[in-house]
Amino acid sequence: MKSLRKQGIIFFTILALVLVACGGDAAEEVVEEATPEVVETLDSPAVTTAQTVKTGVGVTSDPCPEAVGSFPTGADPSKGCIYLGLINDYTGPYGALGPALELGQRAFWLWANQSGGVGDYSVTIAEGGDAQYNPAKHLEVYNSMRDDVAALAMSLGTPQTLFILDELDKDDMVAAPMSWYSGYGFKEFDKGLVVEFGSSYCAQGMNALDWSLENLPADIKTIGIIGNANDYGYDWAAGVEIAAEANGITVAWSYLPPATEFDVAQAVGLMVTQPVDAYFPALGPTAMAQVAGGAFQQGLTPFALMAAPSFNDSFVREGFALAPLFTSGTMYVTAFTQPYEADTPGHAAMRATFDAVGQATGNLFVTAGWTSQYHLRDVLKAAIKGGDLTRAGIRRAAANVDVSSDQMMPIKNLGRDGGLTETYVGVPTADNLSGINTLAWPYTGPTAADYDWTAAPCS
């Protein structure tokens, strides 16, 4: 009897599980939201100039604090305040970059506030939270600030940002990324919440190869690609491979292991056993120096076209053993914008701001931090002009506006899928703060020019 009861319980449990598993959501028809096709600019009639501005979370009529930490905000005490959140990494694999990025971002808003702010508001980035490049921490940091900020000045890490995308969606929280992944150019991918800036790794990869074919004093027939298995490495590699196919170039090898399993000896071994005319690394600075140094030790100095995060200005400084290699004319850097010394109004403002606060820096990450905020500023301006500075209003503005950056980057249309293609190419030098001399800007090679950027992300 007891056994029969047991059997019955087991049978019904299994039956219940099967029913639950097979139960479909027939009634739950997903209705796709239509994406607005019309793209507006800050001056378009659709973005009306409102008399009163509706405000929401993260926007106060009280002025911003004079400083956050020890860094001044430049806020106007007679204006209200728009608070931005910051999900940064102070520890973990990108812990060294986080402070430099933040410095650039805070400097940008210092300058923007001193230059009149955004409408009747100054803007300040609240204390940043350390996500440690950990998705769980990322969400934790986001939750700690979601009730206090109008938008995110940065959400560092592509996977982490995508993991919290549903939460951002629920809160109508737009965020500036710190990655040049080609997927960010597509609303379907980022729900129109990520305010991307600059050309993607993919476009930069295409242009790196096209530019090298046009300009390097060598007949390039075979190439190699080195990177990590992540959005950065895959996107860059996809771009290089597309350009290689378009130009009839042989990709002899492509080494893209997970970051945790990256083996310098294996990368150098590929260069030794299957020599190439040029290689295209998308690494971090430490791995880049190890790979270039390892190859140099083996007597190999093929041309290298580096993705921007691979380069660090310390490579060219006196005392660094590989400085002669990096300044030998075989190594090149590609990026989404020009370096610190460039002659644009945006770069000039950045230099003046850093000079004023006594920060003698000029590396790529500081520039990236500064540049990342331009589009966010224009989105906030558009939201104010539309009279809706709530998060929903900011999101609407982000989906319907052209954004500029004082010529640091080309004008970008946030309303359309696709992305910028303009790429910077430079050569390492010890003569300036950024450690790079400009060779080409804005460069778009034939492959990137012919590529259909509205189809889908490269990787």
Partner: protein
């Protein structure tokens, strides 16, 4: 006789989950407070407590194998990972790169534990033959193998550096991703997750408590205190060591699967050696071998960063005024706690709780 709380007249009473009505009363009060908490706390605190509860389940797992059965393991993080990815495949959404079956939570949650438990049988024959440092080394090797597989098995994990989204919150066919509308009241997703974590934590906690007072629990304690003696007394070492690993892995799988739904996505790099050491550290700080220890340890681990931030805030110390950043301070405080607890309070936070409780039970008398 009834008014003497520490007088037990039979063994069943002594080993009862609640030995007296006072305990039942306070448990009930705590339960009510815990349930009502999610309606008054902010999203941030709900998240932290939900994570603490989910981590407790995983910590009970390592408490079974290390705290109760005395087997040193550094592979606990791998079993958590196996549970997470099992849940992600069964309950997650498929994409171009990853598998996903979008099954109900009623399936993916227990199966996450079962699959992790099945994988633990790989370690079982080794665990019988080895102990101490040698066993630790073998589990370390297992961790590295799993780490490599996690990083490269893209269809399941999304691959290192990218990761994947985790299982969807669908229970009894009801999609809870956007919350649950009960009449006019919307129960938010994070509140649902919190209540689920709380429920699961209570169930698994009672499971652990039951295990401790069962034949298996006594066998584990026997193995921990002297495996040769235990074998001489008739304890089947293979059976009990294997079952300890299996049960620990089941807890790890379930806890990991539940915790992953809170973070939204998971990247394989998470399940590294540090993560496994962290699991050990949680029970060291909480109190190894005890029922409440892992709960205390998990809460301490999750809440400590917030506590440190709060202390810095009220003391008006900004990060720029400190030689270390917040993450480094957190790591140092956590490390320091491990050292201090091992030296001064080997029974961990539970030991402090135990002494505190006894003090107030006897108050105003010292003894």
């Amino acid at each position: 006789m009834k008014s003497r709380p520490n007088l037990y007249t039979n063994y069943a009473k002594e080993t009862a989950i609640f030995s007296n009505n006072t305990q039942k009363f306070w448990f009930f009060i705590l339960l009510l407070l815990s349930i009502s908490l999610c309606f008054v706390a902010t999203d941030y605190w709900i998240l932290l407590i939900s994570r603490s509860l989910a981590f407790s389940i995983g910590a009970w797992g390592i408490n079974i194998v290390s705290g109760l059965a005395g087997q040193i393991t550094l592979a606990h993080g791998s079993f958590i990972g196996i549970g997470v990815y099992t849940a992600a495949v069964l309950g997650g959404v498929a994409s171009d790169s990853v598998w996903g079956l979008e099954l109900d939570m009623l399936i993916w949650l227990p199966v996450a534990g079962i699959v992790a438990a099945l994988f633990s049988f790989i370690l079982a024959p080794i665990a019988v033959r080895l102990k101490g440092l040698n066993l630790a080394l073998v589990t370390l090797a297992f961790l590295f193998i799993c780490s490599h597989i996690f990083s490269n098995f893209i269809s399941v994990t999304g691959g290192a550096g990218l990761g994947r989204k985790v299982a969807k919150l669908v229970l009894f066919g009801v999609n809870l991703e956007d919350g649950l509308l009960i009449g006019n009241f919307l129960l938010e997703k994070n509140q649902i997750q919190y209540l689920m974590c709380l429920f699961l934590c209570i169930v698994m906690g009672f499971g652990f408590k039951n295990l401790v007072r069962s034949r298996a629990g006594r066998a584990y304690a026997g193995i921990r205190d002297g495996d040769i003696a235990a074998e001489a007394l008739g304890v089947n070492l293979f059976r009990y060591k294997a079952s300890a690993f299996a049960l620990a892995s089941f807890y790890a799988g379930v806890g990991g699967a539940m915790a992953s739904t809170i973070s939204g996505g998971v990247e394989p790099g998470l399940f590294n050696l540090l993560f496994s050491i962290l699991a050990v550290a949680i029970i060291v700080i909480g109190g190894a071998g005890t029922v409440l220890g892992p709960l205390f340890g998990a809460f301490f681990y999750i809440m400590a960063p917030g506590l440190i931030q709060y202390i810095l805030k009220i003391t008006d110390l900004t990060e720029s005024a400190l030689p270390l950043n917040l993450g480094q301070i957190e790591a140092m405080v956590f490390g320091l706690c491990i050292i201090l607890f091992l030296i001064f309070e080997p029974r961990g936070l539970w030991g402090i709780w135990f002494r505190l409780r006894n003090y107030f039970k006897a108050w105003p008398f010292s003894y």
